[in-house]
């Protein structure tokens, strides 16, 4: 456990000292939030049925939260470390290899909490009202951060498998189908049938729906439960695969 904390602290330090790696990942969600609201707020006024009296910002906020936390930062940090040879130094230390993954994920959790808090604050400033109250807002931040932790597995896997900076950088392409083939602009039932089918088989849709329910509906146990389940499964599968890859790294 100590080694995970030590490696986690180092990874967090890296995030703090390389703001140029984090700032763009915050710019994208905030940009989308402001631009999307600006463009469609007349199309979807607060009288729109799925907005339940709120502005479109309330509907978009969960999507922006996902954008803010879904990054390949850990994968990139890892592949850079492999490239520099520092990874070998860590592999030769008498620690569990899993600590190297959990250390990275610790930083993802911290970064996720900071990023989602920031986006949530901006969303509230733009007029969103979190229907589930303060506890709901805290849950939103936590779930978004945990989604970020789960999602980090993609970058980590690509980094460990390819050991190539460019390949790891291009793993962000996954972001598009996962975050856009969802009910991100309108609810499921307003999507074309093909888009609806794709969105319904995309597990990320249910995370967005769950977070959105906390903003717009209040406490909807079903939707929140499914979101938690999806995040947990995604985390288990991707972290599990990362642990397997690192255990057999050069073995």
């Amino acid at each position: 456990m100590t080694e995970v904390l030590l490696l986690g602290r180092r990874a967090v330090r890296e995030v703090v000292r390389y703001p140029e790696a984090t700032i763009p990942t915050l710019f994208i969600p905030l940009f989308f939030l402001v631009v999307n609201i600006g463009q469609v707020s007349k199309t979807f006024p607060s009288s729109t049925s799925f907005l339940k009296g709120q502005g479109y910002v309330a509907f978009q906020l969960p999507v922006s939260l996902m954008f803010a936390v879904a990054t390949a930062t850990s994968g990139l940090a890892l592949v850079t470390e492999i490239d520099l040879g520092y990874f070998d130094k860590l592999l030769v230390a008498p620690i569990r290899r899993s600590s190297l993954i959990f250390g990275r994920l610790t930083a993802d959790l911290v970064r996720g909490i900071a990023a989602s808090t920031m986006v949530l604050v901006v969303g509230i400033a733009l007029g969103a009202h979190v229907q589930s109250g303060v506890a709901g807002a805290l849950l939103i931040v936590l779930l978004a951060a945990l989604f970020g932790v789960a999602y980090a597995g993609f970058g980590i896997l690509v980094a460990l498998r390819t050991r190539n900076v460019q390949a790891t950088q291009s793993s962000f392409i996954l972001f598009f189908p996962l975050l856009f083939l969802t009910p991100n602009f309108v609810p499921f039932d307003r999507l074309s049938s093909l888009m609806e089918t794709l969105a319904r088989i995309n597990p990320v849709s249910y995370v967005i729906v769950g977070l959105r329910s906390l903003v717009i509906d209040g406490w909807n146990a079903g939707k929140i439960g499914v979101a938690i389940l999806v995040i947990a499964l995604m985390g288990l599968v991707l972290t599990g695969l990362s642990l397997r890859v690192i255990a057999t790294y050069d073995r």
């Binding site: 330090r13 000292r17 520099l84 040879g85 130094k89 030769v92 230390a93 008498p94 050069d250 073995r251």
Partner: protein, 334 residues
């Protein structure tokens, strides 16, 4: 102050039997090498680039599993008991493994923590090592601002946090300027004085000669000679007379000196001939007489005892000198 390294129990710090590593595509990087390194010695692994030095070190450090054969380090099998091996070794690889985001102090404190030296003990140990490698003043700067020599010294310090029994140094001076190289040599000697075994790879003849108690010469994945530098040189059994041609005709000079008494071999080098003779001093007169007879004007004639490069030449048919990498300015090293 010493490095507080721990002597290995038992006699052999490193033992390898028929150790082999084949990479994808059938590349045989290391071919059935046998090695025994006694506790407390500085053992050199000398060879050109691509000879298999780094692959051997990576196998002994548990970073790469052997394709065949076996090895023990500090008494533990590198495959079956990798964790036990890792606890007892320190490693400074050829590619300096430093995290550019951390300061020298943070890096050493983290390294201490990974070896279970935490809290105040870790801070104290980091401070000691910083002082030992002369980085106290630069301790709170990020490592990306360090020169090549400073990075090497910090990397060396990070390999010493837990007072390892066996220290692996993979080309610790490659790319360093001569002054930094001497600093590393001094540190290696101090580490040895503290009781540790040092396994050092190098492509520098002088380094192998001056620093190592024993050495193995590796070429194309095979060990071609092994012993103390003195014994390896003594086994050559002859002197080398170097005749600098200074523009004289190679073929004519070679023909003139062809039947020299006690001559074992002639090696043609750029603008020089190396004559391997039984007794260098007594051959000089005859060499001069023959050159004079054939009216061949040469430059200097010098007698030398065989060097490790001659040993390398004898074993592989090539010289190592000249294949050595050019020295880089400290700033140029990453």
């Amino acid at each position: 102050m010493t490095f507080e390294t721990r002597p290995t129990n038992g006699s052999a710090a490193i033992e390898a039997h028929a150790l082999r590593r084949t990479f994808k595509g059938g590349i045989e990087a290391v071919r059935d090498i046998d090695l025994t390194v006694s506790a407390g010695e500085v053992f050199g692994f000398l060879g050109p680039n691509g000879a298999g030095k780094t692959t051997t070190v990576r196998m002994l450090c548990t970073l790469l599993p052997p394709t065949a054969g076996s090895a023990t380090v500090a008494g533990f099998d590198v495959v079956a008991h990798a964790a036990e091996v890792r606890r007892r070794i320190g490693v400074a690889l050829q590619e300096i493994g430093l995290d550019p985001v951390q300061t020298g102090r943070e890096l050493l404190e983290l390294q201490c923590g990974l070896y279970g030296i935490t809290g105040r003990r870790g801070r104290k140990r980091a401070e000691e090592l910083l002082e030992l490698v002369g980085l106290t003043e630069a301790a709170d700067r990020r490592t990306k601002t360090y020169s090549g020599g400073m990075k090497r010294r910090l990397d060396l310090a990070s390999a010493l946090v837990h007072s390892p029994e066996v220290l692996f140094l993979d080309e610790p001076t490659t790319g360093l300027d001569p002054a930094s190289r001497l600093t590393i040599w001094d540190e290696v000697r101090r580490i040895q004085a503290g009781g540790a075994t040092v396994f050092l790879t190098t492509q520098y003849l002088e380094e192998a000669d001056k620093l190592c108690d024993r050495l193995a010469i590796i070429d194309e994945g095979r060990i071609v000679a092994q012993g103390t530098p003195e014994r390896l040189k003594a086994e050559m059994g002859h002197d080398v007379v170097s005749v600098s041609l200074n523009g004289a005709d190679v073929a004519a000079t070679e023909a003139a000196l062809g039947g020299l008494p006690g001559l074992e071999r002639v090696v043609v080098e750029p603008d020089a001939l190396a004559l391997y003779v039984e007794d260098g001093a007594s051959s000089i007169a005859e060499i001069v007489r023959r050159l004079d007879r054939d009216r061949i004007q040469v430059g200097a004639i010098a007698v030398a005892r065989p060097s490790l490069d001659d040993v390398f030449l004898q074993a592989t048919g090539r010289r190592l000198e000249g294949q050595e990498q050019q020295l880089e300015e400290p700033e140029a090293a990453r």
